[in-house]
Amino acid sequence: MSFAWAKPYEPKNNFMKWLDERLPVPRLVYGAVGGGYPVPRNLNYFWNFGVLAGLALLIQIITGIVLGMHYYSYAGGAFESVERIMRDVNAGWVLRYVHQNGASFFFAIVYIHIFRGLYYGSYKAPREMVWMLGIVIYLLMMATAFMGYVLPWGQMSYWGAQVITGFFSAIPIVGEPLRVFLLGGYAPDQAALTRFFSLHYLLPFIISAVVILKIWALHIPGSSNPTGVDVKDEKDTLPFHPFYTAKDGFGIGVALILFSIFVFFLPYSLGHPDNYVEANPLVTPAHIVPEWYFWPFYAILRAFTVDFILPAKLWGVLAMFASILLLFFLTWLDRSPVRSTSYRPAYKIFFWVLVLDVMVLGYAGQAHITPFTLALSQVAAAYYFAHFLIILPLVSKFEKPLPLPTSISHSVLHGEKEESAPFGLTRTGPAAAPAAAE
C-alpha cells in the first residue's frame, strides 16, 4: 500500500492461495492492519484512540442490535420496555448499561482522538481528507446519540427532542414547517419516536461505511506520528502487526478496565435522573441538560441572548453548527507547515488554552443560567471562534518553530547508529531491503 518496502502478502498454504486468487480478502486485511502496513515506529499511546473508537462503535452496534430485540418504539410502551429490559430480560441490565455508558465511552475516546489530531496537526496535508471524514463521522455520531437518547422516552428524552428539533424552527420562513415535517407532528410523539428508532438503527452502519473510507484515505499517506516528520525510509517504520496490534491490544485492555468501572460501579454517574420519569408533554423539567458530550455546544447555543440583525435564536443555532463546521476548514486556517505542536512553542500555549476553553464551555453548558454562567459561556464561545478564526492563522504566520528532527528514526534513537537497522534484517544488510519491495 503506502510504502515501497511494505511486505507483500504471501498465502501460507494451498487453500489460502486458492482463496487469494478468487477473493483476496486476507490480502486486504494483511495490507490494512497486518504485517503489510508499515507504521511510523514512534507512535505514542494517543495513537491508540482510532482503534479504540472502532471498538466502541462495535460495542454499540452489537449491544444495540440485541437491545432492539426487546425495545418497543411505541410512545405508550417505550419507557416501560426499557424498564423491562432492566428488570425482566435476562442479562438485559448489563446490555443496557453497556450501551448507555458505551455512548459516553465512544464520545470520550473520540474527543481525545480529535484533540490528538489538533495537537499533532493530523488535519494538514496530505491527511486533510482523513480529518474531514472524521468530522463527518463525528456529526453522524452526534445525530445517532441524540436519537438514541430519545428512545427511552423519559422526560429528558422528550424535552431533548423538543429543544433539538426546535433548532430547525430558527430557520426563517421554512423553519417551522420543516420542524413539523421532521417530527411528523406539532410536538414529539409516536411518529417522531418511530422514525428516530429507525434512523438510530441505520446510522451506525453509515458510520461504519465512512470509517472504511477514512481508513482507506489514511492508508494512502500512512499514519502520522508525534514528530510530524514524514517517513523517509524503512528504518522509520515497523509493520502494524505484531508491533501495533500488541500496543493497541494493551490500550484496549486499559480502556475496557476503565469502561467496566463505569458499567458496573457507576452506571448512572453520566446520566440524568429526570430520564427515569416518563415523558410528559405538558411539563418541562426545571433544568434541561443534554448529555455531557453536548455541553460545550449547548453553551454556545445559549450564549446568544440579544438580537443583532438576525434574531438571537438564529444566531445561537448558527453559531452552534458553525463551531463544528469550522473544523472542516482547519487545514486552510492553520498555515504552519510544521505538523506537530511539540515544535510550535507559541501555538502550544494556545492549544492548551483551547482545551481549557472547551472545558469551560462544557461547564457553562450544564450550569443553571445565571448572569455569571451566561457571561462565562459568552466569553468562552467568543474565544472558541477567535481561536480558530484569528489566533490560529496569525500564530501560524508569525511563529518561529523549533528545529525538526531530520528523521523519525533519528528522533527516536538519538543517533545510536547500530540500533537503527531495519527490524528483521542483519546490521550489515540494509541492501537487502529493496528486494522486499512490490
Binding site: S169, G185, A187, L282, T284, P285
Partner: protein, 196 residues
Amino acid sequence: MATVEQPSQPTMPGEPQADAAHGAGVRRRDFINIAAVSFAGVGAAVAVAPLLIQMSPDASVRALSSTEVDVSKIQPGQGIKTVWRKQPVFIRNLTPQDIQAAASVEVGGLRDPQTLADRTKPGKQNWLVTLGVCTHLGCVPLGIGEGENKGEYGGYFCPCHGSHYDTAGRIRKGPAPTNLVVPEYEFASDTVVRIG
C-alpha cells in the same frame, strides 16, 4: 453526461448530418441520451416522493384540529393548561393589574411589537390564550400554575434558556425571538373557548 465525442462512425444513409455536425450542435445520440436520462430522473423523483411525504403529520395527527374548553371556573389571576394538537395551551384570566401592566408598556420598544388588544378578542381582554410553547426551542414555560415562577414581568418564565414573557405573553427578555403564539380560537359561548 453523454457528451463525449464518439470517433466518427461511417455515415449511415439515414444520418446525413452526423459528419457535417461533427464537433458542434446536437447529434441524435446526444438527444437520445439526454431524453433517456431526463426521463429516468423524473421517474426517480416520483419514486422518492412517497418516501418523503410519509414524514409529514399523518391523518390522525391532523384530525386533532380543534378542542373546546370550559373556562367558567377560572378566576381572575388563575390559569389553566390544556392540550391542543398534542401541544400545551395556556388560558389565563388576567387581573386588572395584569392588563394595566401590559397596557403601560411602550409597544415600539418590544422585540415583537404587539398590544394586548392584538392578542386577545375584543371585549374579552382579560382572556389570554396562548400556546404553552416557548418560541425559542419549544419548552413549556412556567407561570400558569399556582406558585410557579412567573418571571421578571409577571407572565411566564421559560426555564430552559431563561426567556421572560410579560402578562400579555410577549417576549421581554431572553433568547426567544417572538411572543407566545396565540392560536386560532373563538368564544363558542361566554364560557367556552374553541381552539383550532
